[in-house]
Amino acid sequence: MRHIVFVAGLMAGQMLFAQSIDRAEALWRAGDFDGANNEFKALIARYPTNADYRVRWGQLFKERFNPEEAANLFGEALAINPKQAQALLGLAEIAEEHFDPKANEYAKQALEADPKLYQAHEVMALGALEDDNRKLAGDEAGEALKINPDALEATAIKASLDLLEDRESPWVTKIGNRGKGYETIAHLFEINRRYEEAITYYRKAISATPDLWTAHSELGITLMRMAREDEARKELELAYDNHYRDKPTVNTLRLMDSYSRFVTFKTPTTVLKLNAKEADLLRPYVQAEVEKAMATYEKKYQFKMPVPLQLEVYPDHGDFEVRTMGMPGIGGILGVTFNNVIAMDSPSGRPPGSFHWASTLWHEMSHAYVLMITNEHVPRWFTEGLSVHEETAINKDWGDRLIPDVIAAIRDKKLLPVATIDRGFMHPSYPQQVIVSYFQAGKMCDFISEKWGEGKLLDIVHAFAKSTPTVDVIKQQLGMEPEAFDKEFLAYIDKEYGKTVAGFEDWTKGVRGMNQAMKDQKYDEVIAKGREIEGLYTDYVENGNVYDFVAEACLKKNDTKCAIDELGRYSTIGGRDPDTVKKYAKLLEDAGRKKEAAAALERLNYIYPQDMELHKRLGALALDLGNTSEGIREFQAVIDMHPIDEADSHYNLARAYKAAGRNDQAREEAVLSLEAAPNFKPAQKLLLEVSGESGK
């Protein structure tokens, strides 16, 4: 009796299984994702050791924008069956989508578990192509096609290999009406920063498969990046309305909604998009810097922008991040360029002193020129390197300073050969590798400039414009093998930074010693120790830097000159803490060195202009020095920050106008001052003076 019941129970269970997995799949196909999810959940509860069900459930999560949960389920499946090939493939695909170098490892394991799993070859081909390793990409795609001659991703990768080198490709016709294949080509154009071609292929994808919502979304995002907002919104809303609501789609739509809070300023050559709450303050500084950079680059690159350059400045870093979603190797970046469109953080979006906005602007504008000159045919390493080079070319104290992570990378010999440096950006193998790669690429351009002359950099830009690979460009333009270039470059690095790398431990110990000596009020010891070690690592200007310690010790000893000298070194080397720089300026001003004080404060306008005290002090210094135009700009900046003391602020601006001989504007400002405080005597006196009544 019990046996019969058991058999009946087993049969019922099998029937339920059949119904459940079929139903889960059917609901999924019908677009009832919640229903399918519930079915999978029930299945897993009933069959907790079934790895296959977990994999299918994971694939559902992966498709429905939850890669974290998908990866968890693939991991659970592998805990049950370490050879579950589809779970390994799923992990490889997720890693690949996030530009994680583990993708290759998972793909290889998937192939060991199932040598016929051609999709694993496709994952490896895609990763290789993203690394610009075109040979490997072709080989892997070839392997996939041997297993399945119809393999779509492999076909698209083969096509991309030709198209990226500006050749017609027979593989394109093999894609036929399968939109997903064109979408892959578009994606590869996009990560190579060839946005117009990406747009063309996303459109082809949609034309072949109109309900390919991923392509609608990607097209919308790419159009948004290119500032084609109306078209972008149409595509994104279409995807959204058809239940394709992944984070990039939703966040991009939200970002576009936020544009109502922005104001746009147009000139014949520029479009400036600033948040209304800081537009008045930032515009004069940003507009002037954009125009200065354009004039410099036009001359240097011998190229005139054929379209206006658009700059968007985001005070909310979250908004800026939406602009960069899905792009490889850009974690923690401050600006991004899409041809002639630049998006960047506002200085107000970062803690004071942590961000040099003008340096970032010049960096991004170099990209804009290089992308336009090369028709987007430039490897990542070179365009980044040139941009980093330009930051310090315009001003030595701009750009990034040498950070401990880079010192460690040099010490541990982690700098990459020039032939493969792009991997450091695209598929970093350790957390700081992108930052290290920026440094290395910048230094490579410095090295080229110093050895072959600045003009050689432009020659290289033009060589890349002809789709020449990096290895060939090095050979043709520098007349040496890439390996020889690497050797000379490392010698250059050693010459410049060998002392810092070798002395880093001593410097660290020295700073600790100074800290203790400071606590013990042994100021002579602090100064002596500081002088001894500051040459070991001159670039360190962050918290706990040697310059601060020494200057503080000097002040404790009432030795102002000593403090001024030390803070002067801090400022010259690129120290950016606003409080420290303002302290330096005050010491200079008190010592009667007003011109230098003004120059010190001027640097802060490029770092953190959202500082009312800065503008007030700089304005006063400018007037004292007879620099009325700067005085007007600075006192206007105070007003643009909506000061508490309106009367004094308008009065100062009136003084500046009066000094410039612009009495009508001086009178207007005096009236505004007195409107806020009718009994403000200095403004009353000034109003009488500019009204011609001073003698009455």
């Binding site: 806020a676 009718p678 009353q684």
Partner: protein, 296 residues
């Protein structure tokens, strides 16, 4: 706000000033750790120094800090003021430090026993001074606002409720307002309680914005109009001029112009901008001429 009312209130203040005295009690409570201890004492010392600047004949200043800032001494100081202050006088209590709120009672943390909001209210209610200002610059101080509320008393707190429990920065900027001429936005050489509050409130908000931190304090003032009429600090020669009989006619003319300017500003939104500016400029020019005559 309150622009059109200011000359009227100012006149009242200045008229009262002739015979009235101002009582100031500043208390820096328990820091709990050396850094806060030092910071609170330093702020109290700064306030003390600012208040003791200038003529002292109408000013009574007492400051409790460090080990002296006990409940017993604070009660004694308040009782002493209660025994001396008259209805025409002004009284200012400034509290710097940590406060707590358990959902029922607010307490100002002092060395030894704390003082509760109710105890404080009872002590303050004994003081006869007709104009009172309490500036409670502690964490959780928002909880005490309703307890201290009284018709002739302006209450300023560093937080909007008892649930804002983190140490505050408002006190730092309140003291800065007492030092910085920029706080006197109408340039009448008097920093009113409202001007000091608005200065410190703005600086507090800017502090959190600049530090990219979520603001954990939201300063409050219970009555802006009353605060605008409360002179926290006077400097310059504004009051001396009023008492000069030789210049009474000019002063009267000046007051008339001030009233006309206020009336015009009140009409601003109803006027064509050019017309408003023209009339305002003419009045301001006239006021400037009169002031120049007074200052001769």
């Amino acid at each position: 706000m309150g622009c059109s009312l200011k000359p009227f209130w100012l006149a009242l203040i200045l008229a009262a000033n002739a015979s009235a005295a101002s009582y100031f009690l500043t208390v820096a409570g328990l820091g709990g750790e050396p850094d806060y201890e030092q910071r609170f004492s330093m702020l109290a010392s700064d306030v003390d120094k600012i208040l003791r600047t200038g003529p002292q004949n109408d000013k009574y200043v007492e400051t409790l800090k460090g080990a002296d800032a006990t409940k017993v001494k604070m009660e004694a100081a308040l009782n002493k003021i209660a025994s001396q202050a008259k209805p025409e006088d002004a009284f200012v209590l400034m509290m710097i430090g940590h406060g707590t709120f358990d959902g029922t009672d607010y307490k100002f943390n002092l060395p030894g026993p704390d003082i509760s909001g109710t105890e404080l209210a009872n002590l303050l209610n004994k003081i006869q001074a007709g104009r009172q200002l309490v500036v409670d610059m502690t964490s959780a101080s928002g909880a005490v606002a309703s307890v201290l509320k009284k018709e002739n008393r302006t209450v300023i707190t560093a937080t909007r409720s008892g649930t804002e429990k983190n140490a505050v920065v408002f006190s730092r900027f309140w003291v800065e307002a007492m030092r910085d001429a920029a706080a006197d936005v109408d340039k009448n050489e008097i920093v009113s309680a409202l001007e000091a509050f608005q200065y410190a409130e703005r600086k507090t908000a800017d502090f959190y914005k600049e530090q990219k931190r979520l603001a954990t304090e939201h300063p409050q003032v219970d009555d802006q109009q009353r605060a605008s009429a409360f002179p926290l600090l006077r400097y310059g020669s504004a009051s001396a001029v009023i008492n000069d009989p030789a210049k009474k006619a000019l002063v009267a003319k000046k007051e008339d112009l001030e009233n006309r300017i206020d009336a015009l500003k009140y009409q601003k939104s109803l006027m064509a901008p050019a017309d408003y500016t023209k009339q305002l400029t003419a009045l301001l020019l006239e006021l400037s001429r009169v002031q120049a005559e007074i200052d001769k």
